[in-house]
Symmetry: D4
Subunit: 213 residues, 8 copies
C-alpha cells in the first residue's frame, strides 16, 4: 500500500494523525481519507487543493472544505464541552491563510478559537485593544511574516505560552519566511516557542497538546 496509517497515534498521543495532502495525488488523499474515516473519528487533510477536496467528496460526501485554510475535514465525533480556548493572532491580511490553517485545525482538535487579525506592531493600539481576548487564552498562536516581531510583543502581554508561526509573507530579504523565523527564535520574550514557516497546522497541534496536558 502507499501508506502505513499510524492508527496507534491517537492512542499514544491522544490526538489523531492528520493527512498532509501536499505531494500526494487527489486519489491518494481520498484513499487515505476513506481508510482513516472508517476508524470512526474526525479526519482532516491539510494543504489540500480543490481537486483533492473533489476526490474526497466523491467518496465521503459529508466532508467539507475550508478554502482559505486549504483543509478538507470530516467531523464524526461530538466535540467535548469546554475543551479549552486559544487565540490565533496574525499580523497582516496576507498572513490569513496560515492563521486559518491553525484555527481550523484547532477547532477539529476540539478547541474554542478566538481570531485576532491585522494587528501588526507598526500600529500598536490595534493590538493593545485586544487585551481581554488575549487574556482568556490558554495558549496563543501568533502568525507573522516580514520581521516576525509580533510574538515578542504578544509574549510580553500574556501569561500563557506563545506558539509563533513565521509566515512566508514578504519579499527580498524576507527570504520566504527566514527573517520572521530567525526573529521568533531570538525572541526576547521567554514564553515563545516556534514551529516551521507557514506551519499553522503544527502550531494548532502543539496548542491542543498544551491545553490538554
Amino acid at each position: 500500500g502507499i501508506a502505513k496509517i499510524d492508527h496507534h497515534r491517537s492512542l499514544r498521543l491522544g490526538l489523531p494523525e492528520v493527512i498532509y495532502a501536499a505531494g500526494k495525488t487527489p486519489e491518494q488523499v481520498a484513499e487515505i481519507f476513506v481508510r482513516m474515516a472508517a476508524a470512526g473519528g474526525d479526519v482532516i487533510a491539510t494543504r489540500a487543493g480543490a481537486d483533492a477536496f473533489a476526490a474526497v467528496r466523491a467518496r465521503v460526501p459529508v466532508a467539507v472544505y475550508h478554502e482559505q485554510a486549504r483543509i478538507v475535514g470530516l467531523r464524526q465525533s461530538r466535540p467535548a464541552e469546554d475543551a479549552g480556548r486559544i487565540a490565533v493572532v496574525c499580523a497582516g491580511t496576507s498572513d490569513l491563510p496560515v492563521a486559518e490553517e491553525a484555527a481550523v485545525t484547532a477547532e477539529y482538535l476540539g478547541l474554542t478559537v478566538d481570531r485576532v487579525h491585522d494587528v501588526g506592531v507598526a500600529g500598536l493600539h490595534r493590538l493593545l485593544a485586544q487585551g481581554e481576548v488575549l487574556g482568556r487564552a490558554q495558549a496563543v498562536v501568533v502568525c507573522a511574516g516580514m520581521e516576525g516581531a509580533l510574538p515578542s510583543v504578544v509574549g510580553g502581554l500574556v501569561a500563557a505560552p506563545v506558539i509563533a508561526v513565521p509566515t512566508s509573507v514578504g519579499y527580498g530579504a524576507a527570504f520566504g519566511g527566514v527573517a520572521a523565523l530567525l526573529g521568533m527564535l531570538n525572541s526576547c520574550s521567554p514564553n515563545v516557542a516556534v514551529v516551521n514557516i507557514d506551519n499553522g497546522f503544527g502550531a494548532a497541534y502543539v496548542a491542543a497538546m498544551i491545553v490538554r496536558s
Copy 2:
C-alpha cells in the same frame, strides 16, 4: 541606570524576569541581582561564570551556583506543592550543560524535573526503556545536537508537548547547532515546538507556562 527591571512581568506573566548574564560585567550582574532580590521573590541569573557568581555572593551570601548549568540562584519563595512535572531529556553527554540549564531553571520556576540522559537515537533501546518517566511528564524538554533527531522520536512516544532545544554540539556541517535546529523545525512529529540553539532557559520557561496554563 544600566537597566530598567521589568517588575511588572511576574504580574503580567505569572513568572519572574531572569537575568541574562552574558555580555554583562560581574558588577552589573550583582547589581541587578540585588535589586531583584529586594523584591522578595526567587532570582536566577543564567549564562553566569564563576566571576559573576563571586560578585553576587559577595552581596547575597546565600546565593548558590549550579556549575554545569551556569546558573546563579536565590530561593526566597516556598515552592508550591505539586506544581507540575516535566522531563528533561538529552541525546548525548555533551548536551548536559544545556539540559541542566533547562532543568535548574524549571526547578526555580517551581516544577519537578525528571532527567533522562544519553539516550540518542543510534541506540534506541536506551530511550525505549524510559517509557514510564516520559509518560508522566506534562511537557518534555528534549536537547540534542548533531542531527537533532531525538525530539521527533520522543514526540512519537508521548501524549504531551515537546519543547525541542537544538544544541551547538557537533562539528563541520553541524554549523554550531543549525543542523539540529533545522531538523527540529521540520519534525515529522506534530507535537514539537522549538526554541533557540542552546536555549535551555527558554525551553524551561515555555514548559512552566504550559504546566501552569
Copy 3:
C-alpha cells in the same frame, strides 16, 4: 558530437555509464541511448520524462518506462544469480519517487531489492516491525525528507553500511532538502554515508559497488 560516451567506464568501474536525461532534449537522450544500446549491455536513462521515453521507444521499441522512478531502461544482459541484496527504505509516501529511482537503478545494476515504505520515526513501531528484512540487506539505502532522521535510527539497527538520501520533501525551513542533508551528514550512527539531495540513482550505484566489492 554532443557527447563523448565513456565506454571505458564499465571496464574501469565494473558498472555501466548511465544517461542523465535532465537538461537534454528527447532527441539527445534517444541518440545517446541508441549508441549505448549498440554496445550490447543494459542501458538506463534517469530523470526521464514521458517525452524522452517516447523518443527512445521510437528507436528502441523494447525499452520500458518506470514511471514513478522516471527511468527509461533496456535489459540486454542476463542478470547474475545471487548478485546481492539491498533494502531501500523511505520515511513517507512523498519520498517514493526518490526511493524508486534507487530501487529500479539497483535492479538494473543486478541487485535484488527489498522495499520498505512509510516507516518515519514519528511512529517507530512501523520500522521496528521490519527487522528481518533490514537484517538480510548487504547495504541499506534510506530516503527521507524533512528532518532526515531515519538513517540514524536505521543505522543503529543494522550491521551494514547505510547510504542516506536526503529528499526535497518538506517546506519552509526544509529548504528543499537541506535540513535532511545536514541531519544525515551529522548522523550519530557512524555507519551512515550520504549522497546528494534526491539522488536515488547515486545511492543505488554506491550500493552496487559495495555489494560487489
Copy 4:
C-alpha cells in the same frame, strides 16, 4: 604614505572624515589623527582600543577617550547652537556599546542627543513612557540585537525617520546580528532604514546628514 586622507570630504559632504581604527596599529591611528587634527577641525577615531588612545594622547594630549563607545575624540570647533536633536534608543543593556558609538559620534557631529535605554519590546510600557523624548527627535537611531523588533515599534510611534542598527547581541540563531538585520530590513514600519550590524557610527552620520539636510 599609509593613507590618502580625504580632506575634500568635509567640503563635499559638510561633515569630516572619521578614522576607523580597527585593523590599524596604534601608531597608524596616531599618525593619521595628528595629520587630521592639523587641519583644525574636530577629529574622532572609532573602534579604538586603550592602546590606540594611548598612542594618540602621547601626541595630542587634549584628546579624550569615550570608553564604552570606544571612540578617541578631539574637539577643536565650537559646536553650533541648535544644530538639531536626535534620540538614540536601545533595546537592552548589552546594546549599550553600539548605542554609545552612535551617541558620541552624533555629539561630535554637533547634535544634541537624548539617550533612551533598555526599552525592549517584551515590556512595552517602558517604551511607551518615553513618548515625549521620542516626539522631539528629528531622527531616531534605534539599536537592537536578537530579533531586532524595536525599530518597527518605534517607527510606528514617531513622525521622524528611524535609523535602525542591528547589534551582534544574542547567540545561536542570532547569527551575530543577522537575525536583527533581517528583521529591520523587513520592518512593517515604512520609515525605517538600516545600517550595518554594530554600525553605531554610520547611524549617527546618516542622522547628522538628515538633520542638516
Copy 5:
C-alpha cells in the same frame, strides 16, 4: 473585516498609510482603496497589477495607474508648494521599475523628484555629468542591482543622506539582490542607509520623512 486600516498613522507619522497590493485579491485592494479614499486624503496602492487597477477604477473612476511603477494612485489633496526635492538615481535600465516605484511614491508624498537613469559605475563619466542635479537634492534614493556599488560612489559626491535600494537585477551570485544588499550595507560612504531589496516604496517614504523632519 479583512483589514484594520491604521487611520491614526497620518496623525502619528504625518504621512498616510499605503496599500501593499501583493498577496491581496483585486477585490480586497479595491475595498481597502475605497475605504481609505473616503477619508479624503491621497491614496496609493503599490505592487498593483493591471487587474487590481481595473478593480479600483470600477469603483474610483478617477484613480490612475503608473504602469512601470505598478502603483494605483488617487490625488485628492493639493500638493504643498516647495515641499522638498529629492533625486532618484538608478544604475541600469533594468532597475527602472524599482526606481519608478520610489519616484511615484515620493511624488504622492508631496516631493519634487529628479530622475537620473543608467549611470552605473562602469562608465563613471555618465554619473559625474549629473553633479548639479545631485547637488540640489535634500535626499538621494539610489537603486542598483548586481554589485550595488552606485550608492557608495554617489555617497562620496553629495552632502545629503543616501537611501540605497538594492534591486533583484542580476543572475547567479547576485542571489536575487543579496549581493547588492550586502554591498550597500558595507558601503565605505558613511552617509548611506539601506532598505529592503526592491523596496522603492520604503526608500521614498524614508526620504519624505527626511525632507519633512
Copy 6:
C-alpha cells in the same frame, strides 16, 4: 552516570562503539574508556588531546596515543587475518590529520590500510602513478579540502566505493570545508558517498562496514 554505553552495538553492528572525546573532560574520557575496556574488546577515543591521553594512561597503562590522528587506542583482540584492505588518499599535506584519523580507526577496526598522500588534482601525474595501490582497495577513503575535487577523479579510476571526506583545509570561500563538502556531494562520479567535514572516523567506520558486508 554520565553515559549509557551502548554495549549492544558491537552485537548489532559487528563493530564496537567509539568514544568521541571532544567536549568531554579528560576524566570523563578515562572513566568511559575504563568501562569499555572492561568489556574485553578494542577501545578507541577520537578527538583526544594529550591531556585526555594522560588521564587514560594513568588508568590503562598499555593504551597508546596516535598523535597526528588524535586517537587514544587499546588493542585487546587479535586482528583477523585478511580482514580486508582499503586505501586512504589525501590531496595535500594539510589534510594529513583527517587522513590519519581515518587510517588509524580503520586499523583498529581490523583493516589493512594503504596510505596515499599529497596527490591533489593540480598535478595529476602524482595520482596516476598510484594505480596499483588504488586498484587493490575494496573501498577508498579520499580526504580533500579547498575545492574537494579529488574524490571525483579517484572515483573515475577505481571499481570500488569511494568514501569522500571534506576537510576544513583552506580559507576564505572554503568556508571551513563547505566548498569541499558541496563539491563531493555533487560529484560527477557515481560511486562517491560523503561523510561530515573532517570526519575521518566515520569514513573508516563506513569502509569497515563495506568490507565486512
Copy 7:
C-alpha cells in the same frame, strides 16, 4: 531615453559595450541595437530570446541569431587576422549553452576559438587526449557545473590563464551553481580566476582582454 550607451567604452577598453537583453523588452533591445549599430562597429546582444531576435531583425535584417548561445549579432568590422586563439572547454553536454555564449562572444571580439566538449573529470582520458588543443591556447575558458572540478585539472595541464565559469547545471546541493562557484574559487591550481555563474559572456570578455593585453 531608456539607456545611456557608453560609446566611450571601446575607446577606453579597446572592446565594445555589449547589450544585456535579459530584463529588457524586445523593443528596448532593438532600439539600443540600432543605435549601437549606427556607430559602425560590431554589435551583440546576449541573453536574447527568439522574440528579441525578431525585433532586431525587423530593423537590422542582416543580424544573425546564435540559438544555443542566445546571442544576436551583427558583424560590421573585418576581423583582424591572427588576433589570438583561446580554447573553450566544458565538462558535460548540459554546459553547452554557457560554453557557446563564451565561444560566440569571443569570436565577435575577434578571437579564434577551439571548442572542447564533454570532458568531465570522471573520465580523465577524454581530457588528456586534448593536450595539443589546450597547449596552443593563450587563455582557456572552462565551463563546469556540479562540483566544478574541471578548471583545477585543466589548470594543472596548461601554461596559460584559466577563466573558470561555474554553471547552474546540477540539482540539490549544487544550489544553482554555488557548489561549482565555490569549488573554482578554492582551486588548488593557482592560474585560475573565476567569473559569475553562467557568465560565458564575461569569461570571453576577460579572455579577449588577456589576449590583447
Copy 8:
C-alpha cells in the same frame, strides 16, 4: 615523505610551485623550502609567520622575509628584463597585507609592479588621479574589502584585464569578505575576474600568466 613536490609544474606552467605555509609546521616549511631551493630556481613560501621564517633562515641564510606580505623568499634566478608590468591597487589601508602578498609574489614571478593604495570609491578623485599608472599596466590586481566596489570602477577605466581580490576587511554583514566577493562576481564591468578572499598570491599568479601568455 610529507610532500610530493610538483617539480614538473614549472615545466608545464612556466612558473614554479609555491609553498603554502599555513597549516604546516615551521620544520615542514623549512624542509620543503630546502628541497625546492636545491632545484635552483626562485622559491617563495606564502602565509609564513616569523617562526616559519626563522626555521627557513636557519637552513637557507640568504632567504628574506617580507613581513607585511608574510612571504619568505629566495631569489636564485636573474629576473628577465622587461618581463611585463602590472598595477596592484587597494581600496583602504587595511587591505595592505593582501595587496602586498600580491605585489611581492608578482615581483618574484618576474613582473614590475606599480602600487596604488587607499583609493576607495567614496573619494573618487584619489583614483582618478592615478590614470597614467593604471594605463600602463598589462593587468591590474584590485584588492578591496567591505562592499568591494573598486574593481568595477577600475574596470571601467582601463583597457586591461582586472583581477579582483576580495579581502576579509570589514565587520558585520561583510561576512569575512563574502560581501566583497559577491560584489566582484557581479561586477558590471565585463573585464573583471575574481579569485578567493584574501588570495593575493593567486591574483599575482594569474596576472603573471596573463602577462606571459
